[in-house]
C-alpha cells in the first residue's frame, strides 16, 4: 500500500469514528451493508474511469452510458423478453463498443478525449431519453427475475454480515484490475503511455492500442455497473439517471491518487476514494444534517482531509534533517505526485 493510500485510509477511519461516536447507528450491520452496496456499485465505474485517467485520457460519458445501457437492459428483459443472461452479455458488448469508439476517435482521429467523451455524454443521454420518449423505464410492480435479482442486487450472509453482491463484484473487479495494472505487462504499458506517450512509442509499445484498450475496459466495466445500478434502482428516468456520476468517478480516482495528467494512480486508492465519498453521503443522512448541506459537508471533509495530508507531507519536507535521509528521500516523490496535476 502506498503512502497516499494510507493517508486516505486514515481519513476514512477518522470520519467513520467521528460519525459512529455521534450516531452509533452508523455501525449497525444494516447501515454498513447499505453503504457497502453503494461502494460496490460506484467503485466499479470509478475503477473504469481510473483506467482511462491512467493512460492520460478522461471519460465524461460514464453517467450517460449508465443511463443508456440501463434503459436498454431493462427494456430488453422486461419488454422484449430477452433472456437476461443474453441481455447481460449484450449490454457488456454495448459498453465495449462504446469504449472502442471513444478510444478510436481519440487515438486514430486524434480528437481530444475531453471533446470525444463530452459529445458521448450528450449523445448517449439524448439517445436514452429518445428511446424511452423520456418515460421512466422500470420493472414495474411485480415483474420479477429472481435469479438475476439475487445475483445483482441480493446479499449473502457472511458471518452475520449481509454482504451485498455488488461488493463481491467490486472485489473481483478490483482484484483483477489490481493484478492487471500493478503486476502485468499490460498495466505497465498503461502507466508508460499515460506518462510519456512518445517514449512509449520509441520503446516499441503500440500506444494507440494501449489507449484504446483502456477505453474498452472502461466501457465494459461501466456496462457492468450499469446493470448493477439498474437492478438496484429498478427504474431509470433517462433524463437524470446516473447524471454527475462521471464527476463521482473522476473524484474517486483523483482522491485515490490518479493525476489527470496521466501515468499515476492505484487501484487501492480508487477503491478507498469511493469508500470515502460514500461514507460522507451516509454521514450527512445519519447525522441529520440538513440535506441542503449534504454536498457542502462532503466538500468540506474532503478538503480538510487533503489539507491535513498535505500539511503533514509539507512539514516533513521542510524538516528533512530532523527525520533523516529516509524522509527526505521519500518526500519529494510524493510532493511531485501532488504537484504533477
Amino acid at each position: 500500500m502506498q503512502k497516499k493510500d494510507l493517508s486516505l485510509l486514515i481519513l476514512i477511519l477518522v470520519v467513520g469514528a467521528v460519525v459512529a461516536f455521534i450516531n452509533p447507528r452508523f455501525l449497525l450491520v444494516g447501515n454498513l451493508s447499505n453503504t457497502a452496496n453503494q461502494v460496490g456499485m460506484f467503485g466499479i465505474f470509478s475503477i473504469a474511469e481510473a483506467f482511462v485517467i491512467i493512460v492520460g485520457g478522461i471519460e465524461l460519458a460514464v453517467g450517460s452510458v449508465i443511463a443508456l445501457l440501463g434503459v436498454l437492459f431493462i427494456d430488453l428483459i422486461v419488454n422484449r423478453d430477452v433472456d437476461w443472461i443474453l441481455a447481460f452479455f449484450l449490454i457488456i458488448a454495448g459498453g465495449v463498443a462504446i469504449g472502442t469508439m471513444h478510444g478510436v476517435l481519440t487515438t486514430k482521429m486524434r480528437i481530444q478525449p475531453f471533446v470525444v467523451t463530452l459529445c458521448g455524454l450528450l449523445i448517449y443521454r439524448g439517445a436514452a431519453r429518445y428511446y424511452t420518449e423520456d418515460a421512466t423505464a422500470g420493472f414495474g410492480y411485480g415483474a420479477s427475475f429472481p435469479m438475476l435479482e439475487w445475483l445483482a442486487a441480493g446479499r449473502t450472509n457472511v458471518l452475520g454480515f449481509p454482504l451485498p453482491h455488488s461488493v463481491v463484484a467490486l472485489v473481483i473487479v478490483a482484484g483483477i484490475a489490481w493484478l492487471v495494472l500493478h503486476r502485468s505487462v499490460y498495466g505497465r504499458y498503461f502507466y508508460a503511455v499515460g506518462k510519456n506517450e512518445e517514449a512509449a512509442r520509441y520503446s516499441g509499445i503500440r500506444s494507440d492500442r494501449v489507449t484504446i484498450s483502456a477505453y474498452v475496459i472502461c466501457g465494459g466495466l461501466t456496462a457492468l455497473s450499469a446493470v448493477l445500478i439498474a437492478m438496484y434502482t429498478r427504474s431509470i428516468s433517462p433524463a437524470v439517471h446516473g447524471s454527475f456520476y462521471e464527476l463521482y468517478a473522476i473524484a474517486a480516482a483523483v482522491l485515490g491518487g490518479c493525476s489527470l495528467r496521466g501515468g499515476e494512480g492505484s487501484i487501492i486508492g480508487v477503491v478507498l476514494g469511493t469508500i470515502l465519498l460514500q461514507v460522507l453521503q451516509n454521514l450527512v443522512n445519519l447525522l441529520g444534517i440538513p440535506s441542503s448541506l449534504n454536498f457542502a459537508v462532503m466538500g468540506t471533509v474532503i478538503l480538510i482531509g487533503v489539507l491535513a495530508d498535505q500539511y503533514f507531507v509539507q512539514r516533513r519536507k521542510r524538516a528533512p534533517s530532523a527525520r533523516g535521509q529516509a524522509a527526505a528521500e521519500s518526500a519529494p516523490a510524493s510532493l511531485e505526485r501532488v504537484n504533477a496535476e
Binding site: 505487462v185 517514449a199 528533512p320 533523516g324 527526505a328
Partner: protein
C-alpha cells in the same frame, strides 16, 4: 571487414523549410564502431532516427540483412536488433530503473495474464548497472535520479537489448570522465562480441579513442569518412566546419576582482550532513567538477533559489541575502542556465523568440504590452550571434536539433546584465565550432566583470576554460585547484575522493 548488415541508402528527409538529410548513405558491418560527427543541426540525429524507425525518410531505402524494408517502424527496428539511446531522454519517471530498462520487453509469467516477473527483472538489470558502475539500484524510482544518472539508465536499456547494433546519440553529453571511460570500455566489449555501435558525440577525443571509422555530415550531406588511421581532432574539425579552428580557449584579460558571491556552509537536502563553502570573484570563471551525482547541480539550484537551503548562507557583494525563489535570484543579478533543457530550460512548443525573451520580457514591453518586433529583432540578433540553425525565430524550439536548443537556452540569458552567472553544463551537445564561440563569450563576460560558476562534466572544458577549479565529491567540496595545478589526474583524484 565483414559484410555490412545495415544499410541506409540515399536517405533524404525534409522538414518544412529544412532539408535535414540530403541523399546520405551509411552502411554498418558487424562489430564496427562508427562515430557520426557534424555540427549542430547537421542531421546526425535525424539519420539515426531513420535507422531506428522513429521517423520515416522522405526518400531512400533502409536495407537490413540484404532486404529492403518498407513501412519500417520502431517495432521493426527493435525486432531487427537495433537499440537506440535517444539524444533527448525518453524515460518514464513513474517507473523504477528496472521498469524503464525493460519497458516493452518485461519477463513474464502467469500465461495469458502476462504478469511481470519482478524478481527476474531486477536480477537482469543488476549486472548491467554494475557494468557501468552506476550508483543506483534496480528499484530506485527514476524520479530520484539526476540527469546524468538517467542517461546511464538509457544506456543500460540499450545494452539490455542484446542488440546487433547499438545507436547512441550523444550518450556522454552529461557524463563525466570516469563514466565516459567506462562507457568506452563497454563499447569495446560490444565490439568484441560482434555488436556494431554507432555513436554521435561532440567530444572528439572519444572518437579517437574508440571509433573504427568516423562519418562526418554537414548540412545534411556526407562530407567525408575518416578511417582509424586518419582520426585526429584537427582532421575531424576541418571536415565538420570546413575550416581550421584556432585554440578553443582564451586567457583572462585581468586578474579576478573582489568576492561577489560567498556561499558559506550551505547544506542541501540530498546530502544533509555535508556543508559546502565557496567564493566567487568578479571576472573569474570558477569551474565546478565532480562525478555524476556529486551534488553540483543541487548546489546551483540552491543558490538560485529553486531548492531550499537547509542551513548556511549566501552573501552577495558582502551582504547576506536570502534567496527563496528564482525571481529573487534574478532580481539580484544571479542567473542560472540549467542543465536539463527539456525540463527546466525551454518551453519546447514556444517559438524561439518567445523563449529567448522570457526571462526579461518586461524590458521588451511598453505599458505591459509586448513589443513583438523588438522581441523578434533581438531574437534574430541572438540567432546570428550564436549561429542557431533555424529558418526563422518563429519556429518552435522543439523542432531544433539538440545543440541548437542548447544555444537557445544560452541566448535566453545573454541579452541581460548578470552579476553572477551559473552555467550548468553549458556546452552539453554543442559542436566544436559553437563551443569556441561560447568559450569566447564566457571569457568576454568574465572580462566585463561577471562572476561565472561553470559546472561541467567535460574534463577538457573544465581545464581549458576555468581560472580556478572546485571539485565536488559526495556533496562536499573536496578541493580547489589553481591554474598551475590543473591536470586531469588532479581533478579526477579529488572527484573520486581518494588517490588513484
Amino acid at each position: 571487414m565483414r559484410e555490412p548488415f545495415l544499410e541506409l541508402i540515399d536517405i533524404g528527409k525534409t522538414y518544412p523549410g529544412v532539408v535535414a538529410l540530403d541523399h546520405v548513405s551509411l552502411s554498418v558491418a558487424p562489430g564496427e564502431v562508427i562515430a557520426l560527427l557534424g555540427e549542430n543541426g547537421a542531421g546526425k540525429s535525424t539519420l539515426m532516427r531513420v535507422l531506428g524507425g522513429v521517423v520515416a525518410p522522405s526518400s531512400g531505402t533502409v536495407r537490413i540483412d540484404g532486404a529492403d524494408r518498407t513501412g519500417y517502424t520502431v517495432t521493426d527496428a527493435i525486432a531487427a536488433g537495433i537499440a537506440f539511446v535517444h539524444q533527448e531522454l525518453n524515460l518514464f519517471d513513474n517507473l523504477d530503473v528496472a521498469g524503464n530498462v525493460f519497458i516493452g520487453r518485461e519477463p513474464v509469467f502467469g500465461g495469458p495474464l502476462r504478469l511481470i516477473d519482478r524478481g527476474t527483472l531486477r536480477a537482469k538489470v543488476r549486472p548491467l548497472i554494475a557494468r557501468l558502475a552506476a550508483d543506483f539500484a534496480p528499484d530506485t524510482p527514476l524520479a530520484e535520479l539526476s540527469l546524468a544518472q538517467r542517461q546511464l539508465v538509457e544506456i543500460i536499456k540499450a545494452l539490455s537489448l542484446n542488440a546487433r547494433c547499438v545507436i547512441m546519440d550523444e550518450p556522454t553529453s552529461s557524463l563525466t570522465l570516469s563514466e565516459t571511460e567506462r562507457l568506452m570500455q563497454v563499447i569495446a566489449g560490444l565490439k568484441a562480441d560482434g555488436v556494431s555501435v554507432i555513436f554521435i558525440t561532440h567530444r572528439l577525443n572519444e572518437v579517437v579513442q574508440c571509433a573504427d571509422r568516423a562519418v562526418v555530415l554537414r548540412d545534411g550531406r556526407t562530407v567525408g569518412t575518416l578511417t582509424r588511421g586518419e582520426l585526429n581532432p584537427a582532421a575531424m574539425i576541418r571536415l565538420m566546419i570546413g575550416r581550421d579552428l584556432r585554440s578553443l580557449y582564451v586567457p583572462p584579460a585581468a586578474p579576478p576582482g573582489n568576492i561577489v558571491l560567498d556561499v558559506v556552509d550551505a547544506i542541501t537536502s540530498t546530502y544533509p550532513s555535508r556543508a559546502v563553502s565557496l567564493q566567487l570573484r568578479r571576472g573569474e570563471i570558477l569551474g565546478l567538477a565532480g562525478l555524476v551525482g556529486s551534488g553540483r547541480t543541487e548546489l546551483a539550484r540552491a543558490i538560485f533559489g529553486v531548492e531550499p537551503l537547509l542551513a548556511g548562507g549566501i552573501s552577495l557583494d558582502g551582504e547576506p541575502v536570502r534567496i527563496s525563489t528564482p525571481r529573487a535570484a534574478i532580481d539580484r543579478g544571479i542567473y542560472l542556465i540549467p542543465e536539463d533543457r527539456k525540463g527546466c530550460g525551454l518551453l519546447l512548443d514556444f517559438p524561439i523568440a518567445e523563449n529567448i525573451s522570457l526571462p526579461d520580457l518586461a524590458s521588451y514591453a511598453s505599458l505591459g504590452l509586448v513589443d513583438r518586433s523588438r522581441e523578434t529583432d533581438n531574437a534574430d540578433r541572438q540567432r546570428e550571434r550564436l549561429k542557431i540553425r533555424a529558418t526563422d525565430v518563429k519556429m518552435q524550439v522543439g523542432t531544433l536539433s539538440g545543440g541548437n536548443q542548447q544555444k537557445v537556452v544560452l541566448a535566453k540569458w545573454l541579452s541581460m546584465r548578470p552579476k553572477v552567472l551559473i552555467f550548468d553544463e553549458p556546452t552539453r551537445g554543442i559542436d566544436v565550432g559553437a563551443k569556441q564561440e561560447i568559450y569566447d563569450m564566457l571569457r568576454r563576460l568574465a572580462d566585463a566583470g561577471v562572476a561565472i560558476l561553470m559546472i561541467s562534466s567535460d574534463m577538457e572544458e573544465v581545464i581549458g576554460v576555468s581560472d580556478r577549479i572546485a571539485v565536488m565529491h559526495e556533496g562536499r567540496i573536496s578541493g580547489f585547484l589553481a591554474r598551475s595545478e590543473f591536470s586531469e589526474h588532479n581533478v579526477l583524484q579529488l572527484a573520486v575522493g581518494h588517490s588513484i
